[in-house]
């Protein structure tokens, strides 16, 4: 105690007598999320290391989920890709695998994310534009043609229609002789963050949550290597949240899925090891690293103490990271390579299990192959040249990082309490609570940029005209017609009686408590399209629209 007291006294003395005597430059010393930062962190800011840190691979996992971390195995370099039809995206997948990408990650176009077929009127102009267009199991077969599905792991970024996309994947693999139990990968499925931030939905919240539950239950039994949900803060952050909001809303979403699965009678230790997370890596380096460390600690503690999990695998928060699209600028786009490098470093030092680095041209369009290659090379330089992967949690014990980790943890628990007061996350979302918090944070940040309080290089300072003319990827308009042709061809050659039969069974089961996964798989096998399944389910479940707030 005397030693602690002495340390505190000396720190205060330095602050008052030495630091206070030196002038500060004109600037705001806050994180990008608005968190005040002190000029110096000392021993007095340190966490209780015994209780809050532990060792890598042991509770509370603050320092990393595995004992050896990157000395055992590097993170998976997983670049997200998708555009045009399944054919074009399959070519991009082969391009990435040939250059050392270890896992595949599929971006779907907006109609696919919203459950609309490419030949639907509302899809016009959007087919294959922001991702790959998938309508039936035939498209998924083309998408993964020539790729050994038991050797790579695949990730699919889709939520409201996730159960349908998983069924397409399982059927496509099965028809190629690959049973579901050998498939490894992740499907995003995190519907709560759709209502909060990404806003691609098909159904009201409750039936959407039921579909998530059906999928988690089914894949827990049938697909031992599959992660049926990736609880995502990425989109919450992209929508303009602070780091603390990203942390709090994502974890609260995670706990909500855990509570639902427990209510359905699943054993927490059966499904918890399959839950994974997905976080943003924004530009505020130390804040991001602290965010990942806090996330691991909170998850482990709550899973153990609140939900009664006992297996280490249930307590370990494993996560994917993507650098912040929102931090990229259209001005002087090559500078984005620097931003992405800083962000990727934060993800790695924060202990991510896989990483996507954005390409420098993504504030302008979907990335060109050249831009994607630089993004991937950025990860390879970090992994093999920078030396940061040589030791585990290199910033553990830093007065500043430990203090910021504690602070983010405290802020997250404050949000948990506010959400609980509203009746839990589903009710909080219905009352627009997280939506409003995010919109407020986004507006505050924009005001700081507009007033010049916060400098963004090339945007509100250090402007120059050079570099505006970059070659960008243009999606050929003919691809939309090609995809419409593909779905029409599948619809023309299938057995329509089988389509009617499987769809009728799906609709009937939707009105009961039955697990819908087997019925969705039957539909997929019969070449029922995604849009047809969604429309059928909407007849039972209804649709969703949000009250526009700003």
């Amino acid at each position: 105690m005397a030693v602690e007291f002495e340390a505190r006294r000396r720190a205060h003395q330095w602050m008052e007598e030495v630091y206070a005597e030196t002038p500060e430059r004109e600037a705001t010393f806050t994180t990008i999320s608005g968190q005040e930062i002190k000029p110096l962190y000392t021993e007095e800011d340190r966490a209780d290391s015994e209780r809050d840190l532990g060792y890598p691979g042991s509770y509370p996992y603050t320092r990393g989920v595995y004992p050896s971390m990157y000395r055992g195995r590097l993170w998976t370099m997983r670049q997200f890709a998708g555009f045009g039809t399944a054919e074009e995206t399959n070519e991009r997948f082969h391009y990435l695998l040939d250059r050392g990408n270890k896992g595949l990650s599929t971006a779907f176009d907006m109609p696919t994310l919203m459950g609309l077929d490419s030949d639907h009127g509302r899809s016009l102009g959007e087919v294959g534009v922001e991702g790959v267009a998938i309508d039936t199991v035939d498209d998924v077969e083309t998408l993964f043609a020539g790729i050994p599905l038991d050797e790579v792991t695949t990730s699919m970024t889709i939520n409201a229609p996730a159960a349908i996309m998983l069924a397409f994947y399982v059927v496509a693999a099965d028809e190629q002789g690959m049973p579901a139990e050998r498939l490894g990968g992740t499907i995003q499925t995190d519907i709560l963050k759709e209502y909060i931030a990404q806003k691609e939905w098909c159904f009201p919240i409750e039936p959407a949550m039921r579909l998530v539950g059906d999928m988690i239950e089914w894949s827990s039994q049938q697909m031992p290597r599959w992660h049926p949900i990736s609880i995502s803060g990425y989109h919450i952050r992209e929508a303009g949240s602070t780091a603390a909001q990203e942390l709090a809303f994502t974890l609260k979403d995670g706990f909500t899925y855990v509570e639902q699965a427990i209510e359905r009678g699943l054993d927490v230790d059966d499904f918890a090891p399959r839950l994974s997370f997905f976080f943003n890596a924004h530009i505020d380096f130390f804040e991001e690293i602290s965010k990942y460390r806090a996330a691991r600690r909170i998850w482990a503690r709550e899973m153990r103490d609140t939900y009664g999990a006992t297996r280490p695998e249930s307590l370990r928060m494993r996560f994917h990271t993507q650098t912040a699209g929102v931090s990229l600028t259209a001005q002087q786009p090559l500078v984005n390579i620097v931003r992405t490098t800083i962000e990727a470093l934060a993800g790695v030092i924060g202990g991510t299990q896989s990483l996507h680095t954005n390409s420098y041209d993504e504030a302008l369009a979907l990335p060109t192959e050249e831009a994607v290659q630089i993004a991937l090379r950025t990860q390879q330089v970090i992994a093999h040249e920078s030396g940061v992967a040589n030791t585990i949690d290199p910033l553990g014990g830093s007065y500043f990082v430990e203090s910021l980790t504690d602070e983010l943890e405290r802020a997250a628990y404050e949000y948990f309490a506010r959400i609980d007061e509203l009746g839990g996350m589903v009710d909080a979302v219905k009352r627009n609570f997280p939506q409003r918090e995010i919109a407020d944070a986004a507006f505050t940040y924009q005001q700081e940029v507009d007033s010049g309080k916060r400098i963004v290089v090339g945007v509100n300072d250090y402007r120059s005209d050079d570099g505006a003319e970059l070659p960008i990827l243009k999606i050929d308009k003919a691809l939309e017609r090609k995809q419409v042709g593909r779905v029409e061809a599948t619809k023309a050659r299938r057995d329509s009686a089988e389509v009617e039969r499987t769809l009728a069974e799906l609709r009937a089961a939707a009105a009961t408590d039955a697990n819908l996964m087997p019925l969705i798989i039957d539909c997929a096998r019969a070449r029922v399209s995604e849009g047809e399944m969604i429309a059928s389910l909407q007849q039972v479940f209804g649709t969703y629209s949000e009250a526009p707030i700003f």
């Binding site: 959007e126 806003k199 600028t329 507006f443 505006a468």
Partner: protein
């Protein structure tokens, strides 16, 4: 506020999100900034069809409409909104577009009758000033 501006009618702006994407950070920031600048703002919410947007503009008797598109579908959706407004005889509404719009597409959008295109990095002040000026100049 001077007495002259107090008696003036508030500028009515529709902020609209055509298409299927859910990127509404920009639209919401602009809606709030325009409102804070003293305008009457109607925000349509997400996933609007061009038909729904044209109808809102007409029903709300708007002076200006801001279309926020980040899905890459601007060359399909924006011309459709412009055309629908023309078909209904609405010629004096100031149409602006914001979002990830490649430089090549901007002249074409302006030729169609879009007054201005704001790309990532545009400040809210810039947009407020433009809407004020363009509405006054009609």
């Amino acid at each position: 506020m001077s007495p002259a501006t107090e008696t003036k009618q508030k500028i009515r702006v529709v902020v609209a999100k055509p298409g299927l994407d859910g990127h509404d950070r920009g639209a919401k920031i602009i809606a709030r900034a325009l409102r804070d600048a003293g305008m009457e703002v109607i925000y349509t919410g997400l996933h609007q069809t061009p038909e729904q947007i044209a109808e809102t503009v007409i029903q709300e008797d708007a002076d200006a409409v801001g279309l926020s598109v980040l899905s890459g579908a601007h060359m399909t959706l924006v011309p459709r909104v412009v055309e629908l407004l023309k078909d209904q005889g609405v010629e004096d509404v100031v149409i602006t577009v914001g979002g990830t719009i490649p430089a090549d597409d901007i002249p074409e959008l302006k030729k169609l009758g879009v007054a201005e295109v704001f790309t990532p990095g545009a400040s809210t002040d810039e947009i407020i000033d433009f809407v004020r000026g363009a509405v006054a100049a009609r």
